[in-house]
C-alpha cells in the first residue's frame, strides 16, 4: 500500500543547530503539506505545496524555517537555528487533490524533534 515516507523518525539536536526533515509523498500526489504538532495539541499547517510551488506558507516562521520541493516530488523542511520551542512532531501529508482543498490528506509517521 502506498504511503508517505518521512525521515528521520526521531531527531535530537542542540539549540542553535540546523536540522532538516525529508518527506516523500505518495506517488502522483500533487499536493504536499508540512504540519507541526506540539505535544497535546492538534497539527498546525506550516506550508502547502502544489507541485513545486508554495501555495500557503502563512504560518511558517520564515526567519528560521524553510521548505522546498524542487522537482515537485519529495520535500525538505529545514530549521536554522533550532530553538527549544521547536520541539514537536513534524508531519508530512500528501493529497491528489489539485484544488488546494485538502479533502483527503494521507499522513506520514512523522519526525519527532527534540531540541536540547
Amino acid at each position: 500500500e502506498a504511503e508517505v515516507a518521512q525521515s528521520p523518525r526521531y531527531k535530537i539536536t542542540e539549540k542553535s543547530q540546523a536540522v532538516a526533515f525529508w518527506c516523500d509523498p505518495i506517488s502522483g500526489h500533487a499536493t504536499l503539506y508540512w504540519y507541526r504538532q506540539i505535544l497535546g495539541q492538534g497539527p498546525e499547517l506550516l506550508v502547502q505545496f502544489q507541485d513545486e510551488s508554495v501555495v500557503d506558507d502563512s504560518q511558517l516562521p520564515k526567519d528560521r524555517f524553510s521548505a522546498e520541493r524542487l522537482k515537485g516530488v519529495d520535500s525538505t523542511l529545514k530549521i536554522q537555528p533550532a530553538e527549544l520551542g521547536d520541539s514537536a512532531m513534524y508531519l508530512c501529508a500528501s493529497s491528489s487533490d489539485r484544488t488546494g482543498r485538502s479533502t483527503e490528506a494521507f499522513f506520514g509517521q512523522g519526525t519527532r524533534l527534540t531540541v536540547v
Binding site: 495539541q41 492538534g42 500557503d56 508531519l91 501529508a93 482543498r101 485538502s102 479533502t103 483527503e104
Partner: protein, 113 residues
C-alpha cells in the same frame, strides 16, 4: 474564526463498552468534516469524512459519525470498543475561503479491561 472544538481532553472507556467522542464546529455554513486517529508516535489516519448527503457516515474500524446541523456537531461513535482503539482522536474541518484543514485539540482515549 472557523474552528472545531473537542471538549473532552481525555476519555476512559471499558473494553466492549460504547464510545462517543464529541466535536463541535463554529461558523454557520456546512463545512467539510473529518475524524482522524493517531496512535502514539505515529501519523494520522483518516477514519471518516463528511461532505454532504447522508448525515450518518460510516468509517473504517467500525466507527461512524453523525452530522447534526442544529447542534453544530459531528460526534464520533463506536458501539463496542477494543483495546486497540486506544489512541488520540482528532476532529478536523476544511475552512471556507482558504480551503485548509484545521484540527481540534484532540481527545485521548484510554481503554480499560
Amino acid at each position: 474564526a472557523q474552528s472545531v472544538t473537542q471538549p473532552d481532553i481525555h476519555i476512559t472507556v471499558s473494553e466492549g463498552a460504547s464510545l462517543e467522542l464529541r466535536c463541535n464546529y463554529s461558523y454557520g455554513a456546512t463545512p467539510y468534516l473529518f475524524w482522524y486517529v493517531q496512535s502514539p508516535g505515529q501519523g494520522l489516519q483518516l477514519l471518516l469524512k463528511y461532505f454532504s448527503g447522508d448525515t450518518l457516515v460510516q468509517g473504517i474500524k467500525g466507527f461512524e459519525a453523525e452530522f447534526k446541523r442544529s447542534q453544530s456537531s459531528f460526534n464520533l461513535r463506536k458501539p463496542s470498543v477494543h483495546w486497540s482503539d486506544a489512541a488520540e482522536y482528532f476532529c478536523a474541518r476544511i475552512n471556507f475561503g482558504n480551503e485548509k484543514l484545521t484540527f481540534g485539540t484532540g481527545t485521548r482515549l484510554t481503554i480499560i479491561p
